[in-house]
Amino acid sequence: MTKRFVKVYPRFERLWHWMQVLLIMALLFTGLGLNGVHSVIPFGPAVMLHTIAALALLTLWIFATFWLFTTGTWKQFIPKIEGMIEVAKFYAYGVFSGQEHPYKKIFWRKHNPLQAATYFGLKWFVFPAIWVSGVLYLTYNFWGQGAQIITIVANIHLLAAYVIAAFVIVHVYLLTVGHGFRSHVRPMLTGYDEVDLTPEQLAYLEQNEPDRLLPAE
């Protein structure tokens, strides 16, 4: 096995990620304002910002979904039970005794099993909940009547938003675990991460996709 820096996050995926960061932050901030948690931005402008950011995020997600399926990257997000317990154990107590993270990022699998399961839950339940409820909320007047149904829609939207906020907190915190914050953020900026390559994988990359490999140190 050889450790090499390999491009694991292509340009679109990085753009997707950071656009998503920007838009989700904007949505959380304006959304909390609309819910009455703060009043930093007046209600009217907050509605406009929230709506524009939401429509932009939906557009981004349409592109991302297309990208995931055409490139086969969707497989990265299918969770596997195998190894998940080890990762959970590591975060629960191994990390305190200086153990190594049990998951080694490998060439064809950039998420550890717990990560993959989390993203699976986000992508299949929480994100659909927020955008379906959000679109229903936005277009309520075209289909809805009465205060009850919109209350349900709004509460689903609100709960999903809080789940995403909790995810963001844990997500950012976990960047500090292991190799540290900077080394965790760097791959999402540059695209390259250190990966254990088998001789066959290395040979394949050198032969067919040399651009994905950084020169060995």
Binding site: G44, N141, A147, I169
Partner: protein, 545 residues
Amino acid sequence: MGIIRLFALAAGLGVAMPLGALAQQSTPEPSLQSTADHSKFEILNKPFASGPEVTEACLSCHNQADDQVKMHSIHFDWDYEHPETGQKLGKRNVINSFCGSVAGNEPRCTSCHAGYGWTDMNQPPPQEANAVDCLVCHDRSANYTKLATGAGHPPMEAKGTTITGAKAWAVDLTKAAQSVGMPGRDNCGNCHFYGGGGDNVKHGDLSSALYNPSHDVDVHMSAKEDGGEGMTCSTCHASEEHAWAGSRYNVEAADTTGTGKPGEHRYSASCQSCHGTEPHPVTLKGVKLNDHTDKLACQTCHIPSFARGGVPTKTLWDWSTAGKLDKDGKPISEDGFVSSTGKHLHTYLSTKGNFEYGEDVTPYYAWFDGQVEYSTIDRKIDPTQTVEVNSINGHPGQPDSRIWPFKRMEGRQAYDVENKNLVYTHVWGPKTDTAFWTNFDWAKAIDAGMKAAKQPYSGKFDFVDTYMYWPITHMVAPSEQAVECEECHAKDGRMQNIAGIFMPGTDTNSWIGILGKLLVLGALAGVLMHGALRLFTGKKGTHHD
């Protein structure tokens, strides 16, 4: 339609489309260029000794006019049978929380009658052709007026006061007759701005400020040079044979018809009859604002407050304290309120009791389907509660109901303790020995009032707290001064008493809100503890090389 609006939502993403929602239509102004110059008619070129004489001259050409006014106009009948409730309304029948009732006080109250000589509410108004007052609406000389106590007749000598409270002058009827034209604001305002006995006392949104309002007081009636439209009352209150659109008993609370076909006669005084049913531009914001029109009346956002322009409105009238006299037995008065223009207003009068006033008053909001019921003599009241002199109907979810702004007048007025109804009161005599304003004796005044109205009375009276609701629809502000979103979409916002609507931003601590906050706090606490443990154990987990 839904598809088109959905498309509009998508198309309007932040881009204002040039397609304005305000329908392009010429607004007919009162015609200043009649084909007739009335000063050249021989029949008007002579001295007139009375109002009815002028009317006769008018009718010699306008031979259907008296019939139209008498048959169709509530301005003449003061009588209205509500088509939904069957209640007998109109000034002839209702009791209000201001001067009480017309019955028993006729020549004072009928000074604003659009006719001459109505002195008994038990009779219909005089039916002679010349009993119609043409000049009160059509005089354009500003010279005509009506005497405050003359049952509709104009002052023929400089004695007494006019209906606006001004010192009376000898009206030049010839000059008035030769000046006639379509009604201006003064024709309507001289009565309607002074309802309840003084400037803006009654309505709150109809005051002398509207004779010549600035643009921020009224976008429609302000002068064109000031950015307004220069409209008169009848620009909106379209007429049909001397009957006008707009009613306070049977309001068109939700106009879903809109502008109608090009050139079609407008029978409605609603906002939508000019502005259409989707009045905001097709932008992201405009579409969201149009979304509100199924719940809100236009007035709710576009009239942020009433009694603007420096003329206060009476907000409380407590009749129960009236009648206090000084040690010499003379009536007393207090001037405890100063308006923004420095005018001192009575806060106590022996004749009328205690008053409170307001300027720039935030309206009271309620669901309203346009139907108004009155606690007139045919309705029993519950004196243990605040009595609604008029109750406004309307419910959330009803297609014809909208949330409307109101002036909610607070009152305290007399009722019959045994029969449990509000009473008619004889306040203006002035020379009778029963009139309250001369004798300060409620027992006599109520007895006389009930007799005048020919209603049964137990002889026992007390006072009860009342509310009276006045729909607010005038004094539309410029759009930039419309009620901001956050004034309603907030805890304790303007709509806090409104049931049946879901209002984002008003309840951040619903149980889902609390659950969500706990979730976020839990995540924060979790990572902080996890991080602290890592620091404490000295293992940051940052190395394994």
